[in-house]
Subunit: 161 residues, 2 copies
């Protein structure tokens, strides 16, 4: 299989207009409000989504110009493999973020803890289900000693200068 | 933006040769072993991944023939919006699963709790970090009363007959 072609199903609106200064994860963006605009042809797929308190947004890091297999993550000073970090400069620049779902008006979802740049193309929405996504015991590799920096961590523009 | 083009970075090998009978989530597949083969041109990106006990695999539901905005999920008997369920027949057929990482030999990752069909194209690997992905308080909509069925839930072939 050579190529996989997707189409945006919507767009994410956020208070962050450029990568620099954007929170690097929802946990670094508590309280930041945004909206998800699902294009009208896909709006029927939103039925029942409002019952979930959180949703997983799958999106395209559309501003990435450069892919690196090795990169320095926001929370570290050492270079790491791209598959051991969450930064956007990935071979397939796909992002996932679990955000709080505040409410729905037709095809518009109001969300909180937004960590995307305004205008980010949306690929998919999945309900957040801890029974599916949560692991009880885990280890965190290089992040083990860095994670306490997370709540204050902002993008410094290193992946999309 | 009209189209977003990705390329597989690898392939997932699993004991499940067809959708029918495949566990519907890693939580329904405890102990099932598989491997992730990352293509050699991307192998450098695996540096440091072995420090993490769990990884999030992002993959393409390549067997899906039919997309439906409304579908009956495996764990329910009522039709729900596709963005309120995890089933594969999505506008962009992207799957995410958190699996246990047993070990790495060069470009091969040995994994446990596999819920993909053998031969599934891999799009991305991210480290599992509960501080990023876990929510402390949540509600589960239609799934609230169905979730206890999860450990025994298998694909009955409804999305890829």
């Amino acid at each position: 299989m050579e190529r996989i072609v997707f189409k945006p199903i919507g767009v994410i609106h956020s208070p962050f207009t450029e990568p620099k200064g954007t929170p690097i994860q929802p946990a670094a963006s508590r309280g930041s409000r945004g909206t998800v605009e699902v294009f009208s042809e896909y709006a029927a797929g939103l039925k029942d989504v409002e019952g979930f308190s959180h949703i997983i947004l799958i999106f395209f890091f559309h501003l990435i110009k450069k892919v690196s297999l090795i990169a320095t993550p926001y929370l570290d000073t050492e270079k790491r493999g791209i598959f051991a970090i969450r930064g956007p400069g990935r071979p397939n620049p796909i992002g996932i973020s679990t955000v709080k779902l505040i409410g729905r008006r037709d095809n518009i979802l109001e969300i909180e803890n937004v960590d995307m740049v305004d205008g980010t193309p949306l690929l998919d929405i999945k309900p957040y289900v801890p029974e599916f996504d949560l692991q009880q015991e885990f280890s965190l590799g290089w992040l083990e000693k860095k994670i306490e920096k997370l709540p204050r961590a902002k993008d410094d523009g290193r992946f999309a200068p």
